[in-house]
Each structure stands twice: as C-alpha cells, then as structure tokens.
C-alpha cells in the first residue's frame, strides 16, 4: 500500500482533475500582450523600470503611517551622512583646487583673471558640486546599501524580520531612503563649501586675495536662481541613490554572487540616474529661466 503513494501525484496529474480541496490560487499579475514581442534587452529594461516604480510607489504608501522607525532613521543618517563626509570633503576640495588651477590660464589669456572666483563659484554651486558629491555618494552609499541589504536578504534576515511581525520594508527600506534623501543635500552644501575653500587656495597660490574678498566675489556673482534649483535637485539625487541601493539589495538573488551583483549594479544604475536627473533638472531650470 505504501509504495503506491509515490505515483499518486503523477497519476492524478494525468488522469484526474483535483477538485477535492478548496483551491486558493496565489494572485498573479497580468502581463501586457505586447511585452513578449519586444527585444530582450528592452523588455528587461522596461520590466526593471516597472519594478522600480512599484518599489517607489510602495515607499510612498508606507512612509506616512506609523510606526515610524526614528531610531533607525537617525542611525542610518549617521552612517550615511557623517561617515561619508571625509570622502566627500576630500573629493570636493581637490575638485575645487584643480578646477581653479585649470581655468586660470584660459581666463588669463583674455585678461579676465579677476573673474576667476566668480566663474569657479558658479560652476561649483550650479553643477560640479552637486554632481560630484552625488556620484561619490552613489559609489559609496549605493554600494554599501546594496551589499548590506543583499546580504540581509541572502541570510534570511529580511524574512526573519517579516516573520517577527515587523514590516521589513518600513524598518530597512524607508529609513534608508529617507536618510539618503536628507543627507545628500547636506553633504552637497558642505562639499560646495569645501570646494570653494580649495578654489580659494588655488587663487591664493598665484595672487594675493583675502578669504573675505574671494567669497564676496563668489556670492556677488551668484544669485538665488543659481543656488535654489541646484539645491532642489540634490534631494532627487539622494532619493534616487537610496531607492536604487535598496531596490537592488532587497531583490538580491540568492547566494554571495547575488550580493556582489546588487552592490555593483546599484552603483552603476544610481550613477546613471544622477546624470539623467541632472539633465532633466537643467531642462526644467532653463524652461523656468526663460519665463
């Protein structure tokens, strides 16, 4: 008698319809009919974009309601913001210094050396500061979030959290996205300031100029419309870095290879997104600039 049990599923599969149990099918999402017709690469891109937007939607659904994980948000802000400051500072300082040194000969040729602080200041505040800091953060923070969440996923820590009745999305993902969204703008402001100091030192190398005079010249030549759009876009940079890192880590494939892949692809995608957002932001600013 015992031996017959083995063949039963196959038997059933071939010969009869199983109607004995109340059937509770798991929900399945319907695929649009045109999706399989597209070329592979493009289809994967669309699928991924769709998944990411679902992820973002879920973030906006969950972010408003308690329990708020304040402790975790602060811990992450410390990890993400404070711990990135040395790297961001060093990069910004060097960029400010080098940019100034490189621009000087060109300006000198037109006898416009005195414009140096103004020109460097505008380019740092409007463009180079935000983008460089965002890229550095995409590398440092994106990879660390991707790898951390990836290994949490692989070692079933996310499952464990879910089973313990805590919403892992809120605890892990929402707190990290909020932290990056608010820390990156702060890092950008600090980075801008440090880059300007670097630039001041470069100006000072060849001509006598006081720190006050340098900053006076920088701020005289920049105004509201230089600063505000550049600042607003940094929130989007931070948001994108957080979302991509979390998405890649949270959906990491099983195994250590999956962890490496999430870390890697979160850096790549986040950096790309920084450029895309920057491009869009420039278009929008220009549009409003002409009004």
């Amino acid at each position: 008698m015992l031996m017959t049990y083995n063949a039963l599923p196959l038997f059933k599969f071939i010969f009869m319809e199983n109607k004995s149990a109340p059937t509770v099918p798991a929900k399945k999402r319907k695929e649009p009919f045109w999706l399989p017709l597209l070329p592979d690469g493009f289809r994967d891109f669309l699928t991924e974009a769709g998944e990411i937007s679902r992820f973002v939607t879920r973030f906006f659904k969950e972010v408003w309601f308690p329990p708020y994980e304040f402790k975790e948000i602060f811990r992450q802000s410390y990890e993400i913001g404070y711990r990135s400051l040395p790297l961001v500072g060093l990069t910004a300082f060097i960029i400010g210094l080098v940019l100034t040194l490189q621009s000087r000969p060109t300006l000198a040729r037109f006898g416009a050396e005195s414009w140096l602080p103004a020109m460097v200041g505008i380019s740092i505040i409007r463009e180079i500061g935000p983008v460089i800091v965002a890229l550095v953060c995409a590398g440092k923070i994106g990879s660390s979030i991707g790898a951390e969440l990836g290994s949490m996923k692989v070692t079933e820590q996310i499952d464990a959290m879910e089973v313990s009745g805590t919403n892992p999305f809120r605890y892990i993902v929402v707190s990290r996205i909020l932290s990056t969204t608010f820390m990156i703008p702060i890092l950008v402001i600090m980075g801008d300031a440090i880059a300007l100091v670097g630039s001041y030192l470069a100006v000072k190398l060849t001509g006598a100029i006081s720190l006050t005079l340098f900053f006076q010249e920088v701020f005289e030549s920049t105004d509201f419309s230089d600063f505000v759009p550049a600042f607003i876009k940094t929130f989007f940079f931070g948001f994108a870095i957080g979302v991509i890192g979390c998405y890649k880590g949270y959906n990491s494939k099983k195994g250590t290879e999956g962890v490496g892949e999430s870390a890697n692809s979160s850096v790549v995608v986040a950096s790309l997104l920084v450029f895309v957002i920057d491009l869009v932001a420039v278009q929008i600013t220009q549009f409003f600039g002409y009004l």
């Binding site: 015992l2 149990a21 820590q157 879910e162 313990s164």
Partner: protein, 263 residues
C-alpha cells in the same frame, strides 16, 4: 479517488490534544517546473509536537515558510489558527505572526545588532507595553535557558555556528508563541547541547502548551521531542505516526530514517 495520505499505520494519539492549530490539505507549491510540495497533508493540534523528517532538498523548509506566509502556495488549503493563510491581509498576517515563533535553519540573526538587541527586537514591537527592566529580565532569562547568558553584548559575527543557532532559538521563544516552527534546531550542535535544546523545546511545550513543527534529521532529538512524526517524500506526507510505529515500518524509504536508531 484514492485515499492516500494520513497515517498508514493508523491514527495514533498517545494523549488527547486540543483543537487543530495547523490544517494542511492538498497543498501544492512549485518553483517553475520544480514541484516541491505535491498534495501535502498534515494536521497539528494544540500542545502537540510534530517532527517532519525528509531528505535534504525535499521541501521541508518550503513547507514551514508557507505556513508563516513567507511563500505563497498555489493550490490547496493551509489554515493556521483556523484562517486561510493566502487570504489574509498584511495586517492580519502580522498579527498572526506575532503568535508564531520561527527558528531559521540559518539562524538569520540581525548582523547589525547585538545579541541583546536581537532578542529585544520583536519584544519592543509586540511586548504589549513592557518596561525596559522587564524586557531586560526576559532577555536574560531566555539567554539563561539556552546557556548563553554571558553573550548578551556580543555581535552575531563574534558567535560560533552553534551559538548563533541557540540565540536564534532564544529570539523566537522570547514572545512565548503559541506555535513554534523549528527548522533543524539541533543540526550542527554537539550531542550535549542538542539534548539541552531538545529538553528546552519540551519544556516550552509543557509550560506554555505550545504546538510545534520540528524539522530535524537528528533522530535522537526527534525521539525526545516528537509526539508524532511525518515523513515527507516527493512532496507528500508519505508516512505518519509515533516514533515507535514508524520505526517498525519495513518500507525501505521510511526505514532508512530509523535503521540506525532502533528503540
């Protein structure tokens, strides 16, 4: 239709148990072409320990992950505390999970937290307004139970594999759940600790009338803890009964589990 599954050796209940906590009927679960659970049936009653035996990779972990709703099953019925798992809303599922303890095969300790924070994690959320002092006391008591009282401030990375297992166990037991799902709780432990853990599992059952599903290859642990055993082969509940009943079965597939461990 053929009547396959339950107890080929006759229903066996050494003592009477309460109402059914888990009712699994005709459960199907597959990953693509890989049909892991094929018409699986099992019932667990209040206060009962059921040990599930089965070859590596046969779907034991998948089964208990379906029970807590970590994996969605495709067909059949799976009721826990009388509610169909696939039909629960997220909130109801979370409420149910607070009544269930789950010991992961891989321990799944939170890497970024100390042992103490690991144990406190769910207490803080479901502890129903316990004071800091009470929480600490519970944590210490639970660590005492698994023999790791002095590991309280260590990070998971500083623990050995067996220690992680025991911390994982303490973390799931701390909420005094009504239903425990143990995924190989004694695998990789020395015989002395394994026996201690088995006794702890028994103590929990007796003290709180906990029901459990215990997945184990450790026949010693199975014999100690099981009120009933189920042998899973090819995704079905192949044989079911008490340790004594199953160890008498001559069917080679079942016998393979018992041949080294006659009563």
């Amino acid at each position: 239709m053929m009547e396959p599954v339950t107890a080929p050796v006759g229903k066996s209940t050494a003592r009477e148990y309460g109402e059914a906590i888990i009712e699994i009927a005709h459960l199907h679960k597959s990953f693509g072409e890989n049909h892991v659970l094929n018409d699986f049936n099992l019932t667990v009653r209040r206060g009962e320990n059921v040990v599930v035996l089965g070859k590596s990779g046969c779907g034991k972990s998948v089964l208990i992950k379906c029970i807590v709703g970590l994996l969605k099953y495709e067909e059949g019925s799976l009721k826990v505390f009388g509610k169909e798992i696939n039909q629960l809303k997220q909130k109801e599922l979370d409420e149910m999970r607070a009544r269930i303890g789950f010991v992961f095969q891989s321990s799944a300790l939170y890497d970024s937290m100390t042992v103490r924070e690991n144990l406190e994690f769910s207490l803080r959320r479901h502890g129903k307004g316990k004071s800091k002092q009470e929480i600490l006391q519970l944590v210490e008591e639970m660590l005492e139970n698994v023999g790791l009282a002095n590991a309280i401030n260590l990070m998971p990375s500083e623990l050995s594999g067996g220690m992680r297992k025991r911390i994982g166990l303490a973390r799931s037991l701390i909420l005094k759940p009504e239903l425990m799902l143990y995924d190989e709780p004694t695998t990789g432990l020395d015989p002395i600790t394994a026996e201690e853990i088995s006794n702890l599992m028994l103590a929990m059952q007796q003290k709180y009338n906990t029901s459990s599903i215990i997945i184990s290859h450790d026949m010693h642990c199975a014999r100690l803890t099981a009120n009933r055993l189920a042998v899973m082969i090819d995704g079905i509940n192949y044989a079911e009964g008490t340790f004594e009943e199953l160890s008498k079965i001559t069917d080679p597939k079942v016998h393979a589990f018992f041949k080294n461990d006659k009563l």
